[in-house]
């Protein structure tokens, strides 16, 4: 197992390097001089030279990349151009908000997804199965930013049950686990949970259908095991895959929640990215994307290793 874990880590290293390279290149992909966004429009040539030196743009690209990676690995992602604060601290704050939202949405998605998946897998072809399939099809193809708007329209504007936007009551910047703060999380979390619900429902349905068609099920039935006992076996066999999909969804939602976070003005990484884009704050854009991608890769790795631990039958290379 240890050898396997080690091999997985080794395989992930080039990917991590590649991810860093893509993030690094983002700044150079941007049209025009990367300094344009930092400099005042009437900057003198001397100031320009000075800035080029300060940012290291005078060095060859590979050297720049090496320096950037070295600093990034030490937690220094540069300074935000718009706010002047360190990118790392801004991202760190936002990641907390995004993670809370992603985890809650995934948990909701897991509950409903498993429910729909089991119902569909057990009653294949019945109207219940069709209903569950329809729900999961809607879940994957609804534009979630629009669903968010509908949520705001119905539950905030029309019914007035929940706040529409923000990450907590006015004037409070820190997060707390009380209803005053949690109520801000309800609508975005439900909106975001629709995608994992659909994906988990599809996976679980396919799994359950496959397991029910296997011979050991016939054997257990023949031995006289009741439906509940049988159900336990199905759950046990379906669990590793379902858990793996759930784990990956957290990563997807962390990176994919930008649109939903924008709709609800939830102060996570999505909102940070949004402001980075509109203020042409490239260091902030670069840093946020790198952290999110890093999170995604590490999560993938963890899920892979945990899955092999849970289910030794799969030792994927």
């Amino acid at each position: 197992m240890l050898a396997y874990t080690f091999r997985r880590l080794l395989l992930a290293t080039p990917i991590l390097l590649g991810v860093a390279l893509v993030c690094f290149m983002l700044v150079h992909l941007a049209p025009g001089d990367p300094l344009v966004s930092v400099m005042p429009p009437d900057a003198s040539e001397a100031l320009r030279e000075q800035l080029v030196k300060a940012y290291g743009f005078d060095k060859p690209l590979p050297v720049q990349f090496g320096l950037w990676l070295w600093h990034a690995l030490h937690g220094d992602l540069g300074m935000s151009i718009a706010s002047g604060r360190s990118v790392a601290s801004e991202v760190f704050n936002a990641v907390g908000y995004s993670l809370r939202l992603a985890v809650l949405a995934t948990v909701i998605g897991f509950m409903f997804g498993s429910l729909f998946g089991f119902v569909g897998g057990y009653f294949q072809g019945s109207w219940l199965d069709k209903l569950a399939s329809a729900c999961s099809a809607i879940g994957v193809s609804v534009p979630h930013y629009w669903l968010g708007m509908l949520m705001v329209i119905v539950f905030s504007s029309q019914l007035g049950w929940l706040p529409a936007t923000g990450g907590g009551p006015m004037g409070q910047s820190a997060w707390a686990w009380d209803w005053a703060h949690l109520q801000f999380m309800v609508l975005p979390a439900i909106t975001l949970s629709v995608i994992p619900t659909g994906i988990i429902a599809r996976t679980v349905r396919a799994q359950v259908a496959e397991i029910l068609a296997q011979e050991f099920i016939v054997g257990l039935r023949a031995k006289g095991l009741g439906e509940w006992g049988l159900f336990r076996h199905v759950v046990k066999n379906a669990a590793p895959t379902a858990m793996a999909v759930m784990g990956l969804q957290i990563g997807y939602l962390m990176g994919g929640s930008i649109l939903v976070e924008t709709v609800f003005a939830w102060p996570g990484t999505g909102l940070l990215l949004n402001s980075a884009i509109f203020q042409r704050d490239l260091p902030l854009l670069q840093g946020t994307i790198w952290v999110l991608a890093l999170f995604f890769v590490v999560l993938n790795l963890l899920v892979d290793i945990l899955q092999t631990l849970l289910d030794p039958r799969i030792k994927r290379g």
Partner: protein, 297 residues
């Protein structure tokens, strides 16, 4: 006694029917599937609207009016109300079909050709070339697709072309991965071996032997991407990264109407409904197509 009654009836000679072939069979199956037909009809209607848009609109989608801003659904002369600048919503939604479908489908078409070519080459040649290509693909896979699209178009800046480039970059690795895996499956089959033994070059073998066997699965996978692409493309415009005003596009319309959800909630939700209808139609059609193609008989 009538002897003819004892004689066994001559077996009716079945008219020789030409076998419809694999694709004919798939087509027949889809035609017998009412849900597939229904969503195909919706998609055809949308495509027709995209083509005929400028001639089919009932009103003027660009004329603004200070006095007719944000009228509700069912207003005289404005069946679906007006937007935040007093423009006719029905006309804008209809005209918006063209740009929205274009933005959603084009990247997938590009990705089909580029990603397909990369994947087939990687799968057919194997070896170091395969490793090089597939490890590069893995790097792009390490980003959630929404994040990758926003990262690229955020860096490139707003605009239709930049959005198309970003979305293509998102889908190329996905198509390449599928293309690589199906090509790897066929590359060592006997008929490829035979073609190689006959002295055919790599390009000829790919064209005459490989493509026919891999295009189907790659095509089906790619059709499944259109649904995602529609949501992502409109999402970019929704963020202000894709289409620029005053061009009508559903994602952008949803963005500009966002401020109006307290005054005219249902009018402002309309563009999203169009995105949803389009996306789910493509999703269901791709699903049904996959099911129809699943059994090779």
């Amino acid at each position: 006694m009538n002897l003819s009654m004892l004689r066994p009836a001559a077996p009716a000679i079945a008219p020789v029917e030409r076998s419809p072939g694999y694709w004919g069979e798939v087509f027949n199956r889809v035609c017998r599937d009412p849900i597939a037909l229904a969503v195909a009809a919706v998609i055809l209607a949308l495509l027709a609207l995209a083509v005929l848009g400028p001639w089919a609109v009932p009103g003027d989608p660009f004329t603004t009016s200070m006095f007719k801003r944000l009228k509700p659904i069912g207003t005289e002369g404005f069946p679906l109300g007006t937007d935040e600048l007093g423009r006719d919503m029905l006309s804008r939604l209809m005209l918006g079909t063209r740009l929205s479908l274009f933005m959603g489908i084009t990247p997938v078409v590009f990705a089909f050709f580029i990603g397909g070519a990369i994947g087939v080459v990687a799968g057919y040649f194997g070896g170091w070339l395969n490793s090089l290509i597939m490890r590069t693909v893995d790097v792009f896979y390490a980003f959630p697709s929404v994040l990758l699209a926003i990262a690229f178009s955020g860096a490139l800046g707003a605009g239709v072309n930049n959005a198309l480039i970003s979305l293509t970059l998102v889908f190329v690795p996905q198509v390449a991965r599928i293309a690589e895996s199906v090509t790897t499956q066929v590359r060592n089959r006997d008929y490829i071996e035979a073609a190689r033994a006959s002295g055919a070059g790599a390009f000829t073998i790919i064209r005459s032997q490989v493509l026919g066997n891999v295009l189907g699965p790659i095509f089906v996978f790619t059709t499944g991407l259109i649904s995602v692409s529609m949501i992502l493309a409109s999402g970019l415009s929704f963020l202000g990264l894709g289409v620029t005003p005053p061009e009508p596009e559903w994602g952008l319309m949803l963005n500009t109407l966002r401020t109006a959800i307290y005054t005219q909630p249902w009018v402002s939700a309309l563009p999203g409904a169009m995105i949803f209808i389009t996306s789910i139609s493509f999703n269901v059609l791709a699903d049904r197509l996959r099911a129809a193609m699943a059994v090779r008989s």
